[in-house]
């Protein structure tokens, strides 16, 4: 079976005035159907750059990056991206409903469009806020709007760039569980970037650790924790704690 993503020996460097800046080197991994792959690494390890390559927003400077067997040469049809900075990712002058419609209003019209928007908003529990403006909502709700906009595309892959990093701990925990629920309902593949080790383990079927400058995949961990995951009991499992410890060491953190 053709993997969803297949990256081989990918590298990325920028030409700057003071010489080249190398961000990524020898990155190789695959994303197979049905899994949540989380990337974890300290800040400055090129996590966002890697996601941008997968999203078709940045072109790698070396190696090959394939999506469903074909080289990535731009944003793909059924790949949706959720960015960390929700306030700039949402169009603040459009209502919640019209933000969610942004990616699909070209192809869908009338009740079909309205139904798809409402379905997406129901998945994130915001169906009552369809006529609000994003700036009237809390940060967690705005991030839900962005997730709904991605889901409205009915994507086969969700690429998420530290989507919960700017949210408080309680909102973060409830959105993590919502995300796992959404994955079960929609079957979307998820590539999730975070600098939060516990989040990476909690959400992931596999965790890839990025390390170094330029960075590369230091280690891949299989997360064989029982499902459905639970914010309290999962996080208390000895396996969870052991993985947390190993990933912490792989990232190169000091405690």
């Amino acid at each position: 079976m053709v993997p969803i993503f297949e990256l081989e020996d990918v590298s990325l460097s920028y030409e700057l005035a003071g010489g080249a800046r190398n961000v990524l080197r020898n990155i190789s991994f695959t994303v197979s159907d049905g899994e949540i792959l989380t990337f974890c690494g300290a800040s400055g390890t090129g996590k966002t750059s890697l996601l941008r390559i997968m999203a078709g927003l940045t072109r790698q400077t070396g190696g090959t990056a394939n999506f469903r067997g074909a080289p990535i040469d731009g944003p793909a049809n059924d790949v949706a991206i959720v960015f960390q900075d929700y306030s700039n990712a949402l169009l603040q002058w459009r209502t919640v409903g019209r933000n969610v419609a942004l990616g699909i209003e070209r192809t869908l019209k009338g009740t079909e469009l309205k139904d798809r928007v409402m379905d997406a908003l129901r998945l994130v529990g915001l169906e009552k806020n369809v006529n609000d403006y994003p700036w009237q909502l809390s940060g967690g709700m705005q991030q839900r709007v962005q997730i709904a906009r991605a889901l409205a595309l009915k994507p086969s892959v969700l690429l998420m760039d530290e989507p919960f990093a700017a949210l408080d701990a309680m909102t973060k925990a409830s959105l993590q569980d919502e995300l796992l629920n959404i994955r079960d309902k929609t079957g979307a593949n998820i590539v999730f970037i975070t600098h939060d080790i516990e989040e990476a383990v909690y959400l992931g079927d596999r965790v890839a650790v990025l390390r170094g400058t330029p960075s590369t995949v230091e280690q891949l961990f299989d997360i064989a924790l029982p499902k459905p995951r639970n914010q309290i009991t999962t996080r208390e499992l000895p396996e969870f704690l052991a993985l947390r410890h190993q990933i912490h060491d792989a990232i190169g953190g000091h405690s």
């Binding site: 078709g56 927003l57 731009g74 949706a80 700039n88 990712a89 169009l91 002058w93 070209r106 700036w135």
Partner: protein, 253 residues
């Protein structure tokens, strides 16, 4: 209602000053005629059928020029704002042209275009389009790169990105620019009318001054003051109504 009461409070000093002038001033003064004589002077102009055509001419000229300035300023602002190279090699020329006081181009405009409507609109629009254009450029440059990434990831075309992202994102800046341009176009309209002496409140003012009709000059001044204030207040109201959809920070003045 409260806003109206506050506005009325703001007018109080002016009302008191005019009252003092009326009751304490020299009733026979040729240069400072008491305010009660202003209205009869205007009434004479109305009776002679010259006031309303002149007011109409002035307001139409302001409206037409402001519309032209807004359109040209917005389109140029979008072009210069979205093409960084363009901005780079136009900036010096723009700084130079902007430093010209608008009335000094009247002789050149008359030379090239004659005493025509085109000449008047060109001169006034030249004065008024700067704030519109510069605010639009600033508005475009304030759009976050991430917002363009969103447009790209949703596979929007160039035209969709322009119409769904760039245009609406710059509307608050456009409105701010027009609000600044409005009083400037009132000023330059009156200067142009005084210079050409053909039509409008400005030409009536010059005529009254040449006839030493001080009451009429003051009366016309009061009328233009009222209209200048009214236009700005009306535009601010329109701006607030439009910006209800935008976050509060977008309408900061």
């Amino acid at each position: 209602m409260l806003a109206l009461a506050n506005a009325a409070k703001g007018f109080l000093p002016l009302v008191i000053a005019i009252g003092v002038w009326q009751y304490a001033g020299d009733k026979e003064s040729a240069l400072f005629p008491p305010p009660a004589t202003w209205w009869p002077a205007i009434a004479d102009l109305i009776a002679a059928d010259t006031f309303f055509p002149a007011l109409n001419a002035t307001l139409s000229l302001i409206g037409l020029s402001l519309a032209a300035a807004s359109l040209v300023g917005f389109v140029l602002g979008l072009v210069i704002g979205t093409l960084p190279g363009f901005r780079h090699w136009t900036s010096l020329v723009l700084e130079y042209l902007r430093a010209l006081p608008p009335p000094v181009i009247i002789p050149l405009a008359v030379l090239l275009l004659g005493y025509t409507m085109t000449m008047k609109v060109s001169v006034i629009a030249f004065a008024a389009f700067w704030p519109v254009m510069l605010n639009t450029i600033a508005g475009v440059s304030q759009i976050h790169n991430l917002t363009f990434d969103v447009a790209r990831s949703l596979r929007m075309t160039w035209f969709e990105t322009l119409s769904k992202v760039v245009l609406p994102a710059t509307i608050p800046s456009l409105l701010l620019g027009i609000r600044i341009a409005l009083p400037q176009s009132v000023v330059v309209t009156l200067v142009v009318e005084m210079f050409t002496g053909e039509s409008g409140i400005g030409s009536l003012m010059i005529a009254a001054q040449r006839n030493f009709n001080a009451a009429e000059v003051f009366g016309l001044l009061a009328v233009m003051g009222l209209f200048g204030y009214g236009l700005t207040a009306a535009f601010s109201g329109l701006e607030r109504a439009i910006l209800r959809r935008w976050p509060l920070s977008a309408s900061a003045s």
